[in-house]
């Protein structure tokens, strides 16, 4: 074939530059300055591991942010994925509503997180929100729960803005089920297996790989959730809905504590990598 060497380089170069600009440079700044004390307008000063020791042993806000993040990762990679898988299995029966339900389920996933936050802010408004209005309808006419601002309900309210919306999981599972050869079901039916048994013993085990992938996607999405929290609670009340992304934002752009913020960024990346490796191991992703 003709020698295309020059063109190969030319075609790769823009991507390499883009990668360097957005990811590589960011990683160098992130890791490098995580060992420094650094604020607006000042030069970073090397302080060794002190940001990390402060983060891990002294900072209670970090601790709260970490546990909230971990709990959300756990909920998202279990309950959320479960909802998505169950819904996919139901839709796969192809009853009359399945296309409509699949389309509608996707709505909250396709719109901006800021808009989802706004929708829930309105729905859970203590005065005119539909949830409180509905509760008032059944008796308690003075009911005025402030869902997002009450210590007891804030975490639950924020969780509800993403936990049920597992349309991406459903779509991935549906695609995978469609790829299972029909002959498998037919022989099971001939052997007299019921629909439930077919689902439990044939379909679900064949989905191990893709469910593992969904767990990874759903879990790691919780490492970037900021828009909805920003719109609804801002991490409060207190630190009840503070997560690591919000805390990174707060330390960097409100406290101007850049070095410290970046050490939390490093922690967040490591958290993500450990999570991905753990799930890959648990689900034996890649092996048959």
């Amino acid at each position: 074939m003709v020698n295309h060497k020059g063109y190969i380089v030319l075609f790769l170069l823009p991507t390499i530059i883009l990668f360097a600009l957005v990811y590589a440079v960011s990683m160098v700044i992130l890791f490098g300055t995580s060992f420094t004390e650094w604020s607006t307008g000042l030069k970073p000063v090397f302080v060794g591991f002190s940001n990390y020791t402060r983060m891990l042993f002294e900072d209670t806000s970090f601790k709260e942010g970490f546990w909230n993040t971990a709990l959300w990762v756990l909920l998202q990679s279990t309950l959320h994925v479960l909802i998505g898988v169950v819904f996919a299995v139901i839709l796969n029966m192809r009853e009359f509503y399945w296309k409509f339900a699949r389309t509608v389920f996707m709505f909250p996933n396709i719109i901006s997180g800021a808009a989802v936050g706004m929708l829930f802010l309105c729905m859970l408004n203590p005065d005119f929100g539909v949830v409180n209005s509905f509760i008032r309808l059944f008796g308690n006419s003075d009911y005025a729960q402030n869902w997002f601002m009450d210590y007891a309900t804030a975490f639950l309210s924020v969780t509800m803005t993403w936990l049920p919306y597992a349309a991406v999981v459903t779509i991935l599972i549906l695609a995978e089920i469609a790829a299972i050869p029909d002959s498998l079901f037919e022989s099971a039916r001939i052997d007299g297996a019921s629909e439930i048994k077919i689902n439990l013993f044939i379909i679900i085990p064949m989905l191990r790989n893709i469910i593992g992938t969904c767990v990874i996607l759903a879990g790691t999405s919780m490492l970037q959730k900021m828009d909805i929290i920003m719109m609804t609670t801002g991490g409060g009340p207190g630190n009840t809905t503070m997560n690591l992304p919000m805390y990174i934002y707060k330390t960097a752009f409100m406290d101007n504590d850049f070095g410290y913020s970046n050490s939390i960024g490093v922690f967040l990346i490591c958290f993500g990598i450990v999570f991905v490796l753990l799930i890959r191991y648990l689900f034996r992703i890649g092996s048959q």
């Binding site: 600009l21 990683m27 997180g113 991935l172 934002y249 752009f253």
Partner: protein, 273 residues
């Protein structure tokens, strides 16, 4: 037993549809109401389909400015991403060269980095390049965010195109660049449209980076409008609802019109993770 299971199933489906569609429909309904209608009974139908809330929303906040910015960032962010990644995905799918494996591993590292970890570093980079508070800064950053997904979708598509097509083009005397733009690109439309829809939605919906990379109202996009005018709208709930609808409806329209691309894109993009 069988009946009980069916009831559970329908209940579950009903609940899911209610949770997905309910918030959207309720806010849509409320966006046509007056303030007193909303406060007196938030469950009622609007008295009439009045659009005054929408007009007012555009008056209170520079929504049309934000809208224009969102469209510009969405269109150019998608175009830049597809152009750059189309080129590299083609080369990576088609040719063997030294360092190819390494390059692919390095590029896929971008999947392991949560965007929020890069908040301050990217702020610094964008600032240093003099792109702070400029749409071009957002366009470049978003083109970068879509790098792993677009690369994967496009290179898998290129792999399905038979090599003979280019070989005959070369025999006819067409050069490398001409072959790529005149022959490969047109037949790769399905791959590009899948990647484009996902990339456009990314640009349209992104929130945290537009927040830190812009200031003032000149260069902000729609998701930020909701955040910054939350308090301005707060005295007039109907207007707040209308503004929310204005942000939501384009995403839903794009999705309904291009559902096939969104679904196949999600399926293709996720297999990688």
């Amino acid at each position: 037993m069988k009946i009980a299971l069916s009831i559970c199933r329908y209940l579950f489906v009903f609940l899911i549809i209610l949770l997905s569609l309910g918030p959207f429909l309720w806010v849509l309904m409320a966006s046509f109401k007056t303030n007193s209608e909303i406060l007196s009974n938030s469950l009622s139908w609007p008295a009439s389909l009045r659009v005054s809330n929408y007009i007012k929303a555009f008056e209170i906040a520079p929504l049309s400015r934000f809208y224009a910015n969102s469209v510009i960032v969405g269109v150019f962010g998608t175009f830049l991403n597809l152009l750059i990644l189309g080129m590299s995905a083609y080369v990576l799918a088609r040719f063997q060269f030294r360092g190819k494996k390494l390059l692919m591993v390095v590029l896929s590292l971008s999947l392991l980095i949560p965007g929020t970890a890069m908040l301050q570093p990217l702020y610094l980079t964008v600032n240093t390049l003099g792109l702070y508070d400029r749409l071009i800064g957002l366009i470049i950053v978003y083109a970068g965010f879509g790098l792993p997904v677009s690369l994967y979708i496009l290179s898998s598509y290129f792999l399905t195109i038979p090599k003979e097509i280019e070989e005959s083009a070369y025999l006819d005397g067409a050069g490398f660049i001409r072959t790529f733009f005149k022959i490969i690109l047109p037949i790769s439309k399905p791959g590009f449209s899948t990647a484009a829809v996902l990339q456009f939605l990314l640009c349209w919906n992104e929130f945290q980076f537009v927040m830190i990379l812009t200031s003032g109202n000149q260069n902000r996009t729609l998701p930020l409008a909701l955040y910054y005018f939350k308090s301005q709208f707060a005295s007039d709930y109907g207007v707040m609802f209308a503004a929310t609808m204005v942000v939501i409806v384009p995403s839903i329209l794009v999705y309904i019109l291009l559902q096939r691309q969104v679904i196949s894109g999600l399926a293709a993009g996720a297999v990688k993770g």
